[in-house]
Symmetry: C2
Subunit: 249 residues, 2 copies
């Protein structure tokens, strides 16, 4: 039922782009299941994110899964941007992604061609490690309405081609979540036994999830729609029973 049958790419080594969020953590767990933990390397690329807590979450996840973890820094090319996600940028928006999307145009959290840079750097690392597979957790909800154009299947496909051709056919891009909604990712995280409790998604970078920023709202809704409670802690009280009921019909 998974998008990639383990049988055809269950050999060789893999690199997983791991942010420490729910999506990439699931992908790391999938990679471990397909290739074995000794053949998987998690790669976290720091590009001036506002908080270190994401890096800690990524390290915790890698340790839990028993896989090698590489942390590398990208150049300060993103520094002068208008994205709210990088240091020196404006304040993060509140409310749901839907309300942000209504404002049209470029998402305030869009980091210029971020995923092109992440995937290109990861390909170089994969080549250095002689890894055949590059796992990457782009999903359908980020791609919807072109909120993040560098999460769309069209972008993924183009990069998959560029990576395959440009690496002498040595590295192939694997995007097992690209047609999944966030609630399906929550569901699959449960099925795969992904260490959800160690993940971190909040834009605000405090120890507990704020529960009100766009990623927190999306995360809470995803778990509720999947009929589950989220194992991470929130700063605000969350009535999971009511939320799950709301999504029932």
């Amino acid at each position: 039922m998974d998008e990639h049958a383990a049988s055809w790419h269950g050999e060789g080594k893999g690199v997983v782009l791991l942010s420490g969020g729910l999506d990439s953590t699931l992908v790391a767990k999938m990679a471990v299941q397909e290739l074995g933990r000794k053949n998987v390397t998690a790669l976290t690329l720091y590009y001036g994110q506002k908080h270190e807590i994401e890096l800690e979450a990524a390290s915790d996840v890698a340790e839990f899964l028993g896989i090698e973890h590489i942390i590398r820094e990208l150049p300060p090319i993103f520094g002068g941007t208008t994205s709210t996600l990088v240091q020196g940028g404006p304040k993060n928006p509140e409310g749901s992604y839907a309300s942000i999307a209504e404002s049209k145009g470029v998402s305030p959290t869009y980091v210029p061609f971020r995923n092109g840079n992440l995937l290109s750097a990861a390909t170089a690392v994969a080549l250095g490690l002689e890894a055949s597979w590059l796992y990457y957790g782009a999903h359908a909800e980020d791609a919807r309405n072109w909120a993040y154009p560098d999460c769309t299947p069209e972008f993924n496909g183009a990069m998959a081609n560029a990576i395959y051709v440009g690496s002498y056919g040595k590295v192939r891009l694997i995007t097992p979540l690209q047609n999944l909604e966030k609630w399906e990712i929550a569901q699959k995280s449960f099925e795969y036994g992904s260490p959800m409790h160690l993940t971190y998604s909040c834009y605000n970078g405090r120890e507990q999830h704020c529960g009100t920023c766009p990623t927190c709202v999306a995360r809470i809704q995803a778990f509720a729609k999947a009929g589950m409670t989220d194992p991470v802690r929130y700063e605000i009280p969350i009535d999971w029973g009511k939320l799950i009921e709301d999504f029932k019909y």
Copy 2:
């Protein structure tokens, strides 16, 4: 007769990936002709190349063309590689590209997924500058026999798609040399009045071109085949008359 008629993309701003070599210098000159020098920014990305003389050549070219010049550093992700082109790597090969290609497989001068990283970083910069066009000098001779797979039209096309989709349709990749041989680039450099005399191609990084490394050999042959002499200085004597005669038939 040019691959891109100036009329359709003669508006807006452009970023040119400029190494200071013959190819990217011609592309910079083309961009200036199409967009006007005030709308063109040269971008030189340093990624641990062995010598600073390339950066100087790029600066000289940008100054000659009267365009803004940005120099940025890429992360040390390429550092641990086996490429002869980066600091700490092995010694450069001698002889022609053809003799190197005979050894098959990965070129000793291949830097892992270099052009994917250069183009991704350049797209981020282009978005920051609100540039619509990203000019890039990949050519047919580097692509031949898959010597550099990240110079092939297939790679360029995939990256063009990824860049266009991933930038909200704001940036498009322009590769005016992708079907040209090196000798045609020499010829076009003359036609366009490109500042060939300021360019630098040699792998060895000394003040004059060595005349024996693969790029020098390719450069000399290109000029001879185009029926021209190269305006840069070489450490060894070159009998241009004889070389030009050799290529005549």
